[in-house]
């Protein structure tokens, strides 16, 4: 299976020798095989073809770190950050390489930059604590470790660091408490490690890895207009990993575009089985039911969108539109439109609310919503036309 993965990536790189993504994916396929040497070659090639690839620099930096080549790792991470200063985790990786070199003040600066990029990571604060401890700034270390456990209370390292820092600061009782907590979490980690070893399924891991490579390779073929090659790759990816949602999305969209809606529906069902809270999949499935003129199934599916993604407007909007288009449940449509506005107060949602208000004979509500839609999108001719038409009538 690993050979198949590599072969697929090799074929891609041969088919599109000038495509940076193709070289990058071949490099990543080699990395998946544990072949860092060949991986470096193709990641470098991807950079020759597209010198602003932060992802390639980042991976080259990670390989250099594993090889203990810290100077090179630092160079690669810095280049990645030149391309994309907000790239998650790269400041952290750079800081680690600097720590390996004993360049602690530089590491502190990188960690501080890392912390400005969300989401916050307990590991960064723990490493900062370690650096402060190395510099014998135990008050600084304590503060950083405390922040780390605030973010990730199950991370064992900061408790260890806190036990040491507190002891150095003369806080013996606190030190003892953190020591006990460290022991407790470390024992849990060990137990989890033992359990993981018992249940670890290397074949499943390989299948996932190959599946993701096929998905990515398919995307590159698609970008070159070769959906005929992309489709079987995504199909293979779907067979290999029942939880690979991305390849299923690609296939479903392709099937919708090529008039194979029932096949697309099957894929959306698979996605929602793999990810029961995937609101986007339910939304696309509902929209497809509508196009297939199956309003009852569409309604049921849009209700699911509202259930799993209550913070998103799509479900409320789609259901409201469905009721308005099928001339039923107008009152419910009004409530749903209002919820869509609440979640995302956009011009389109105000217009939808206005339409629902009109159906519900709520003239004041209608005019108010229309006014708001026009305020938000003053160039929209349809809103203006509708307002002018409805404002003049009684």
């Amino acid at each position: 299976m690993r050979e198949e993965q590599l072969e697929a990536a090799r074929r891609l790189a041969a088919a599109f020798p000038g495509d940076s993504n193709a070289s990058f994916l071949l490099g990543m396929a080699y990395l998946e095989q544990g072949d860092a040497v060949e991986a470096s070659t193709y990641l470098s090639k991807s950079l020759e073809l597209q010198p602003n690839r932060a992802d390639a620099y980042d991976h080259l930096g990670q390989i250099a770190t594993l090889k203990g080549e810290n100077e090179r790792a630092i160079d690669m991470f810095r280049k990645a950050l030149e391309m994309n200063p907000q790239m998650p985790a790269v400041h952290f990786r750079l800081a680690k390489a600097l720590v390996f070199m004993g360049r602690l003040p530089e590491a502190i600066a990188e960690l501080q930059r890392d912390m400005e990029i969300p989401p916050q990571n307990g590991e960064s604060h723990a490493l900062l604590g370690e650096v402060y401890a190395q510099l014998q700034d135990y008050a600084g270390a304590k503060a950083s470790y405390e922040k780390a456990i605030q973010i990730q209370p199950k991370l064992s390292k900061p408790y260890y660091g806190l036990s040491v820092a507190c002891a150095k600061l003369g806080l013996q009782e606190e030190s003892k408490q953190y020591q006990e907590k460290f022991k407790e979490i470390e024992a849990q980690d060990r137990q989890a490690g033992r359990h993981w070893r018992q249940v670890f399924d290397p074949l499943a891991v390989t299948r996932q890895s190959v599946s993701h490579t096929h998905t990515d390779i398919g995307r590159v073929y698609q970008s070159h207009g070769r959906v005929d090659v992309a489709e079987p790759l995504w199909q293979k990816a779907a067979i290999l990993d029942p939880n690979n949602v991305e390849c299923r999305f690609h296939l479903a969209v392709l099937y919708e575009q090529t008039q194979r809606p029932l096949d697309a529906l099957k894929l959306y069902e698979q996605i929602t089985r793999a990810e029961a809270k995937n609101g986007a999949a339910y939304f696309l499935m509902g929209s497809l039911y509508l196009r297939l003129n199956r309003p009852d199934e569409a309604e049921k599916t849009f209700r699911k969108v509202v259930e799993v993604s209550p913070d998103r407007p799509e479900g409320y909007r789609a259901l409201a539109q469905l009721y308005l288009q099928t001339n039923r449940n107008w009152a419910e449509a009004g409530k749903l439109a209002a919820q869509a506005v609440e979640v995302e107060p956009s011009a389109a949602h105000y217009f939808l609310l206005a339409t629902a208000c009109e159906k519900n004979k709520d003239r004041a509500g209608m005019l108010s919503a229309l006014k708001r839609a026009i305020e938000l999108d003053p160039d929209n001719a349809e809103y203006r036309r509708t307002y002018e038409k409805l404002a003049g009538t009684r």
């Binding site: 690993r2 594993l66 390996f100 003040p105 390292k157 900061p158 260890y160 660091g161 490690g193 390989t206």
Partner: protein
């Protein structure tokens, strides 16, 4: 005060000052003075290690084995004892492999005397310690096997007798690891600590696959075990006191170990490296009762608070501050770690700030020694490397099964530099090393190296020190203390240089070496003062000794026996 980015200006100034200070304190760059020549072929050593493997990948195959450098015939030169594996299920051999003793005949010639010495154990060898448990003046051998262990009593006439049964030290069917002789209660005889790896049997054997390739499982796949402490009864027998001493209360996956007075309270403590678990530090209360204080000491986990796959454990005072520091080797993607002794039984991981782990990250590291390879008066680091998966390159070519070993030169001022590529052909050998042992094999005053390589011939490295630095080597003769002075401290003062060493029995990766203490002196041509703090409390002081001598100090006697170096 905060700047426009919300940063604390005072903090920035503080760190800028720290950075400037670091630059100012950078030690001078000096050319490498360490030269280790590969003389394996001229030694006449024909030993080849086997791990007994047949492709079934039993976990024990990965951890075999250590070796011992000791003077078995008291002729003044250091002999070599190699441990060997044994055929495991699935392996058939015509002649069972055995351990081998090589007598040092001088001139880098060694003769296999296994047969006549009677030390050719065919058990599955993992760890070894040499120690004169009956104080008769000859070092005996203890073998820590997978399966029953063995105690060979040195008869003093070039032969040994297997006294395992009458001594009561076979212990049982454990997977062995390091072993150390030590005097837990300062009663003048050597007790015995025996480390165990994991609770493995052929029936509970597991293996796994990485990227489809067959691989060995790690220690977390098996239950942990407790270690064994045996008290010397003084009559040639030992009693298992693991429970009452407090040792049995802790379970781990023991590997290399060393017994040393880590807290400088004049008794011998026990430090056991654990594979993928916190290391043990058993603090001795002075009477042979122990409390595990690894976490408290700072030696259980690395500076990040992570447990390492610890392999070898050695100690020595790398910064000449009068305290024993510790160095531990570890698994791939972990740095071999140096812990500085801060005093009061407390340690700090200084690997990253000193550079003492440089070059080790991609490799599994095993045998280790904190030893002065260039006789400049500070201790360098030798680290033996080699992966445990013989096919690792197929699924991870950042590392390799066979690889070069590493030498880190101590530059002083708390800095080490990886000088492996400048150390001569001895560091160009690429094999899968396990145990490493260090001593002056040709009695020319510098430390040579012998490495046991998994599934291959050992490597012997001759130190051809290009600079004529001075040195002194000291052998202790205990009277009230145990005969070899195991656990005693020796302080050597030469002008501005003061160094500390302790006599150990069993250290590094499941190996034994260094009974005769070695001190590099740099350009100092004599030693002002040698102070011996015997285990038991008595102190002897010897003054004004010329450099480049072998000195034997007998407890309570003011006149040492001094012998010059061998002629080149």
């Amino acid at each position: 005060m905060k700047n426009s980015q919300g940063q604390d200006n005072a903090g920035i100034v503080r760190w800028a000052a720290a950075a400037a200070l670091v630059c100012l304190c950078m030690p001078r760059a000096t050319p490498a003075a360490i030269l280790l020549r590969d003389v394996t072929k001229q030694t006449g050593i024909t030993f080849v290690h086997t791990d007994g493997s047949s492709g079934r990948r039993y976990i024990v195959e990965t951890v075999s084995a250590g070796l011992a450098l000791f003077d078995y015939d008291n002729d003044g030169d250091i002999d070599i004892y190699f441990l060997n594996g044994a055929p495991l299920p699935g392996t058939k051999v015509d002649k069972p492999p055995r351990n081998a003793l090589y007598r040092n005949d001088g001139g880098w010639k060694f003769t296999d005397v296994t047969e006549q010495a009677g030390v050719g154990d065919t058990g599955y060898g993992l760890g070894v310690a040499a120690g004169d448990y009956d104080n008769d003046g000859y070092q005996d051998l203890y073998l820590n096997n997978f399966g029953p262990n063995v105690l060979y009593h040195n008869n003093g006439d070039g032969t040994f007798t297997d006294v395992t049964k009458q001594a009561g030290v076979a212990i049982g069917n454990h997977v062995g690891a390091g072993a150390c002789f030590l005097d837990i209660d300062k009663d003048g005889d050597l007790d015995l600590f025996v480390a165990h790896y994991v609770d493995f049997t052929f029936e509970t054997h597991q293996n796994c696959r990485f990227n489809g390739y067959p691989a060995y499982v790690g220690p977390l796949n098996y239950p942990t075990t407790s270690n064994t402490l045996l008290r010397n009864n003084g009559d040639g027998t030992f009693t298992d006191i693991s429970v009452e001493s407090g040792i049995a209360a802790c379970k781990g996956a023991g590997m290399g170990m060393v017994c040393a007075d880590y807290d400088n309270d004049a008794d011998t403590d026990i430090i056991v490296g654990n594979d993928e678990a916190g290391n043990f530090v058993f603090r001795n209360d002075g009477t042979g009762k122990f409390e595990e204080v690894g976490l408290l000491s700072g030696l259980a986990y690395d500076g990040s608070g992570m447990p390492q796959g610890t392999m070898g454990v050695d100690c020595g005072d790398y910064n000449n501050d009068g305290r024993l520091d510790f160095q531990m080797t570890s698994y791939e993607r972990e740095l071999a770690t140096l812990y500085r002794n801060l005093g009061g039984g407390s340690f700090q991981d200084v690997t990253k700030t000193t550079g003492a782990g440089e070059g080790t990250l991609p490799y599994v590291t095993w045998g280790n020694g904190l030893i002065d390879l260039d006789n400049d008066g500070d201790r360098d680091l030798f680290i033996a490397c080699g992966h445990l998966h013989d096919n690792v390159e197929l699924f991870d070519n950042v590392t390799s099964y066979e690889c070069k070993n590493i030498v880190l030169e101590n530059l002083g001022q708390e800095k080490f530099a990886n000088v492996s590529e400048k150390c001569g052909d001895g560091l160009q050998v690429k094999l899968s090393s396990r145990g490493a042992a260090f001593d002056d094999l040709d009695n020319d005053g510098d430390i040579d190296v012998v490495i046991l390589n998994s599934r291959r011939e050992p490597t012997t490295l001759r130190n051809d020190l290009p600079q004529p630095n001075h040195w002194i080597q000291i052998r202790l003769r205990g009277v009230k203390c145990n005969r070899d002075g195991v656990g005693s401290h020796v302080k050597v003062v030469a002008g501005d240089l003061a160094q500390l060493a302790e006599v150990h029995s069993g250290r590094g990766y499941q190996s034994h070496f260094g009974t005769r203490l070695h001190f590099g002196l740099g350009t100092r041509d004599h030693v002002d003062r040698i102070e011996v703090r015997w285990l038991g409390g008595s102190v002897d002081v010897i003054e004004n000794i010329p450099a480049d001598r072998f000195v034997t100090i007998t407890e309570g006697q003011s006149q040492p026996v001094i012998t010059p170096a061998a002629k080149p």
